[in-house]
């Protein structure tokens, strides 16, 4: 997919970070708009209509979560939050409030670009209307509900399939434990993390060439899971 001048709003109060993001993202054909604080971010989102927002959670004026809340009141723009290592609760809260993904400081450009692509794909996907997902040897046909690994079909239980389906529809983006539990087992099971572990384990056994070092279903420590997209480094 092309990224022809997709507008990205970068919200960060550190000038050096904005500088390096501007340079690097522009080199990848993104058009970068900068905001230095939460209020500015909200205003610019309204006026400039970016297609993606990169939001640093440590803003001076308003709490990052509040920015997400305010944006989500009227916009579905993909938001990727930038957080610090070790603040898993912060990440989960951001995701719960409506953010799409996160990167942990300090991050490499490869990681960031992959996340951005994943977040933008939803919009692009909607236009393309592709029911089949490919990633390395894994193929998932959402329409026919068939999963193949290296051209061999794999039989999944209903729950396993549900899990995989959610991962696939959010391919490349992180999905919290809670989200997965709620979608697959219902709102009453939000604390049964062990279910998730067991089923993910089973999925890995069936799909991964080496379940001990998974290639497709990645664990996001303390947050949730992510299905790796083809083009991630």
């Amino acid at each position: 997919m092309t990224t022809s001048s997709i507008r990205v709003l970068v919200v960060d109060d550190e000038p050096q970070i904005r500088r390096f993001l501007r340079t690097s993202l522009s080199a990848h054909d993104y058009r970068v708009i900068e905001a230095t604080c939460g209020r500015e971010a909200i205003t610019l989102t309204a006026t400039e209509r970016p297609e993606l927002v990169l939001l640093d959670l440590g803003l001076p004026d308003i709490d990052g979560l509040e920015v997400i809340d305010r944006l989500r009141e009227w916009s579905t723009v993909p938001i990727i939050v930038v957080s610090v290592r070790g603040q898993e609760t912060e990440k989960i809260e951001a995701l719960d409030h409506g953010a799409d993904d996160y990167v942990t400081k300090p991050f490499g450009m490869g990681e960031l670009l992959a996340r951005m692509r994943a977040a933008l794909r939803h919009r692009l996907q909607a236009e393309l209307d592709e029911p089949v997902f490919h990633a390395a040897g894994l193929t998932v046909d959402l329409g026919k509900r068939i999963v193949t690994v290296d051209s061999h079909e794999v039989k999944l239980t209903p729950k396993e399939y549900d899990l995989l389906r959610i991962l696939v529809t959010h391919a490349g983006k992180v999905i919290t434990h809670q989200h997965l539990l709620r979608e697959v087992w219902g709102p009453g099971s939000l604390h049964e993390t062990h279910y998730l572990r067991v089923y993910i384990g089973q999925l890995r056994q069936k799909l991964e060439p080496d379940p001990a070092q998974p290639r497709y279903i990645l664990t996001e420590p303390g947050v949730g899971y992510r299905l790796r997209m083809e083009d991630e480094g």
Partner: protein
């Protein structure tokens, strides 16, 4: 006559200087002394107070009894009166001086009438003079009044003069310790005149008694007593002055007086007489009690009386001594000689008539043995109806020993009869002798005397011709009988004496053993709680009482240990304990302060101050602690105080050591941070500046290499900062574990994926057992541990070597290990590598990274309740790091939904 000028060669006596020093910081007591009530003491006191007030001194009134006399009241009118406390006693309300209000007010001078007054129960002290002592200790000057009849040492004399014994007495030391005494004197005639004029206070009920009291003869005698006492006081002051200023004078020859204490009710008055005598002659004096075997057969009341008399002696300023002995006169003289006693005081009759006949009068005995010690025999005055003499009550057990003793004689008789046919006649008496001896050794003197007599009778009746009569046919047999009796008595006496001494020795040994046991237990006790427990248990056992130990915590006494455990103290008891602690004096039952409670409190003092308070409650509240027990208790308390002090010092020492250690770590931290932060920056800044300045000179490959360097070093810096943050959070306890069910395989996989590049140059072998149970751990933290271990493995082993990661179940835990084939860790350092900032010393090839990683791993692992160890592999070289986590007791249930 003494010379009036100080002799520069002489030095002031240390005692005088010491007493002068002790006067500093204390209030001055001025006593207005009178012979009888009505001489005008209160009036004189108020006059003097008004004078001081005009001088600008802050004068307040504590207690002044005007008895309605207008002239006295007039002097009161512009003085500040501290309101009295109301106390309820037996459904009546009384007013007492409010000690706490006065202490809070801190006047310079306070007026307190009637020093010998007894306070209502519920007051802090039982007597007003004790209240006054507390005021003096708080540096408040006191003016007070007292009549001569209230002096303890003159109690007997006054009783003789007036015919009534005064109950409210005051120890002489108060008078002796007063800074000033003013005698308010009125001639008897003038006094009687005033009485007639109605100017003397006379309570309605006491009319007749007062008439009898206020006879000319009485008044004159009492006046003489008061004058004489005051004169003695002046004489003393003169001598003290001369001593303090090193003026030579006629000093008293070192006389020492000994008074013999007995269980007789006359004993206390003897002691008082001794004190008066000693006081007049400026001699030291002591009260001695000789503890004979008879002591143990005394009634409880008698024994208490002895203890109280000894205590009275101590209160009056003498020394109280108890020695074991057998013959009062002999032992007394021996002790007197050892103490250089010059005079012995003894009462006229210490024994009842019959016993005097039997054992001889002690007095005559004493006189004949006294050598060159004077013996002073005093006619004793009766102490009055309150002390009725009681005869020693035969204890119940005594009766049964007599019966047993008679039985023994019967057995002997039967045995003798059996042996009659084999033994010659005179030898049969030996059998009875055995019975007598046995009786003496087992049951004591009395039963053995009974046995002797019974044996004689039985022997006579059944064996001596003519049999079955009490007559003796052969005169020689009479001799045998008499000799037999004498032998019997002597041996039983001897046996009894030996047995008594053995008992006494055992008794003393028990006391010493108690002290030793306590010191041994304390020495072995580690912490403060153990020490306290040892103390309360030992003291409770030794003295047979309930014991509590209270220690100060934030300026309040807190009950820290008790035997039996779970004791509670009421607020009143706590107040007594607090008083004892603050004033470093005993308080509570049996003392002069707050005696109304059930507990007796002894402060535990060391050179550093009072470290706590020991409280005792005896089974029967009437138990009076004998001076011996008191001394034992004080010895135990001394040990306890030292032990408590020791634990406190140990704690402080450890705190100091911890402080030093913390500082050392802080210094190490600062130096490490400085080094490890700067080192990566060197490469980064170097490479970046190189690229910026000399961009054109680098080719593609070189540029790439520089950029890679920058990336690697930046990541290294990032790792270091992360480690630093972890360490700081672990140190401050801010690590919160977000535990959730995880699979260890998952953690391993995530860690490996994070380190693909770092591990790129090594062979990686991963062996995770299938179906490992889940663990409840913090994913992020445990992943960090794994990442650290893997990075170490990569760092410390050469490229192309194998790094093995395994996870398996071991009994009730799950273990995972990271093994490398690198340089390994020397055996002695396998524990120390987990210390902060520790790096294995291997030449100068240190390897990147700080010494924090492993200590953080240990911190995280141990916070989860797990263990981490470093070992060598079974074959070859390298290191194996093993982390084990215990399995959860209950695994989560999986309900198929």
């Amino acid at each position: 006559m003494p010379q009036g000028t100080p002799d520069p060669d002489l030095r002031p006596s240390p005692e005088a200087l010491l007493s002068a020093a002790e006067q500093e910081g204390r209030g001055r007591l001025k006593i207005f002394l009178g012979a009888v009530p009505g001489v005008g003491k209160t009036y004189a006191m108020l006059e003097a107070a008004q004078v001081r007030k005009r001088e600008g001194i802050d004068v307040v009134v504590g207690v002044v009894e005007t008895h309605g006399r207008l002239e006295t009241e007039a002097l009161l009118h512009d003085l500040e009166i501290i309101p009295r406390r109301k106390l309820e006693y037996r459904n009546r309300t009384f007013d007492e001086m409010d000690l706490d209000a006065i202490l809070a007010r801190q006047p310079q001078l306070i007026l307190v009438d009637e020093l010998a007054h007894t306070n209502i129960p519920g007051s802090r002290h039982p007597k007003r003079y004790l209240d006054v002592e507390e005021l003096l200790a708080a540096d408040i000057d006191v003016y007070t009044t007292v009549n001569i009849q209230h002096l303890e040492s003159l109690n007997d004399t006054v009783a003789q003069i007036t015919g009534t014994r005064v109950r409210e007495t005051m120890p002489d030391r108060i008078l002796d310790g007063a800074a000033e005494i003013e005698l308010v004197d009125l001639s008897p005639d003038e006094l009687l005149q005033r009485l007639r004029e109605g100017k003397v206070y006379v309570p309605e009920q006491a009319q007749r008694a007062i008439q009898r009291f206020f006879r000319l003869g009485n008044l004159t005698a009492l006046r003489q007593l008061a004058l004489r006492r005051t004169a003695e006081r002046v004489d003393e002051q003169m001598q003290t002055y001369m001593q303090a200023h090193a003026i030579p004078g006629p000093w008293p020859a070192g006389e020492r007086i000994l008074v013999c204490v007995s269980s007789s009710p006359h004993s206390p008055s003897l002691v008082r007489a001794a004190r008066r005598m000693a006081h007049r002659r400026h001699a030291e004096w002591l009260a001695l009690y000789v503890e004979t075997p008879r002591h143990h057969r005394l009634s409880d009341a008698d024994r208490d009386r002895v203890a109280q008399t000894l205590r009275l002696a101590e209160q009056l300023g003498g020394e109280a001594v108890t020695i074991p002995g057998h013959n009062v006169a002999e032992d007394l003289i021996r002790y007197a000689q050892s103490r250089n006693v010059t005079e012995v005081i003894i009462g006229k009759s210490l024994r009842s008539g019959w016993s005097k006949l039997w054992r001889g009068s002690i007095v005559y005995d004493l006189i004949s043995k006294s050598g060159n010690i004077d013996v002073h025999v005093i006619n004793e005055a009766d102490e009055g109806p309150q002390r009725t003499p009681t005869s020693p009550v035969l204890q119940r057990s005594a009766i049964h020993t007599y019966v047993l003793s008679a039985a023994a004689v019967c057995v002997a008789g039967v045995t003798a009869k059996i042996l009659e046919s084999f033994l010659a006649f005179p030898n049969l008496s030996m059998v009875f002798l055995i019975a007598v001896l046995f009786s003496a050794v087992t049951w004591g003197l009395g039963p053995s005397i009974l046995a002797s007599i019974l044996s004689l009778l039985v022997y006579d009746f059944f064996f001596v011709a003519p049999i079955f009569t009490f007559t003796v046919a052969n005169p020689q047999d009479i001799l045998a009988l008499v000799v037999f009796l004498i032998t019997a008595v002597l041996t039983s006496n001897l046996a009894a004496r030996v047995r008594y001494q053995a008992d006494a020795a055992k008794h003393r040994e028990a006391r010493t053993a108690a002290l030793y046991a306590l010191s041994r237990q304390i020495a072995g006790a580690a912490g403060l709680n153990d020490v306290l427990r040892a103390i309360v248990t030992q003291v409770a056992q030794v003295l047979g009482a309930k014991v509590v130990a209270l220690l100060p915590e934030a300026d309040q006494l807190v009950l820290k240990a008790g035997h039996p455990a779970d004791m509670q103290l009421t607020a009143a008891e706590r107040a007594a304990a607090t008083w004892a602690w603050q004033h470093n004096q005993p308080a509570g039952r049996g003392t002069d302060t707050l005696p109304g409670g059930e507990w007796f409190y002894l402060p535990l003092g060391t050179a550093q101050g009072t470290v706590g308070v020991l409280g005792l409650q005896f089974e029967t509240p009437e138990v009076v602690i004998s001076p011996d027990q008191r001394r034992l208790l004080e010895a135990l308390a001394g040990q306890a105080a030292v032990a408590i002090e020791r634990t406190r010092l140990v704690r402080e020492m450890m705190r100091a050591r911890l402080l030093t250690e913390t500082e050392r770590l802080r210094d190490a931290l600062l130096s490490t941070i400085s080094h490890d932060l700067r080192t990566p920056l060197v490469s980064i800044i170097g490479a970046v500046s190189s690229l910026l300045t000399y961009e054109v000179t680098f080719d593609e490959g070189a540029r790439r290499e520089l950029l890679l360097t920058i990336q690697e070093e930046a990541e290294r810096l990032n790792r270091f900062v992360g480690n630093l943050l972890y360490m700081m959070r672990l140190e401050s306890g801010a690590i919160e574990l977000r535990r959730e069910w995880i699979e260890i395989g998952d953690v391993i996989g995530t860690a490996l994926s994070r380190l693909t590049r770092a591990l790129g140059q090594h062979q990686l072998v991963v062996e995770v057992d299938p179906d490992l149970p889940m663990l409840r751990l913090d994913f992020v933290l445990v992943e960090h541990v794994l990442v650290n271990l893997l990075e170490n493995a990569a760092k410390y082993s050469p490229p192309q070597t194998t790094i093995r990661v395994r996870a398996r179940r071991e009994g009730q835990s799950i273990a995972f290990e990271v093994a490398d084939e690198g340089i390994g860790i020397p055996a002695g350092e396998r524990e120390r590598i987990f210390d902060k900032f520790y790096r294995v010393q291997r030449g100068d090839r240190q390897g990147a990274g700080t010494g924090l990683g492993l200590s953080i791993c240990r911190g995280i692992v141990e916070a989860h309740g797990g263990q981490i160890t470093a070992t060598s592999p079974a074959h070859g070289q390298g290191s194996v790091f093993t982390v084990t986590f215990p399995l959860e007791k209950e695994l989560p249930t999986m309900v198929e939904r």
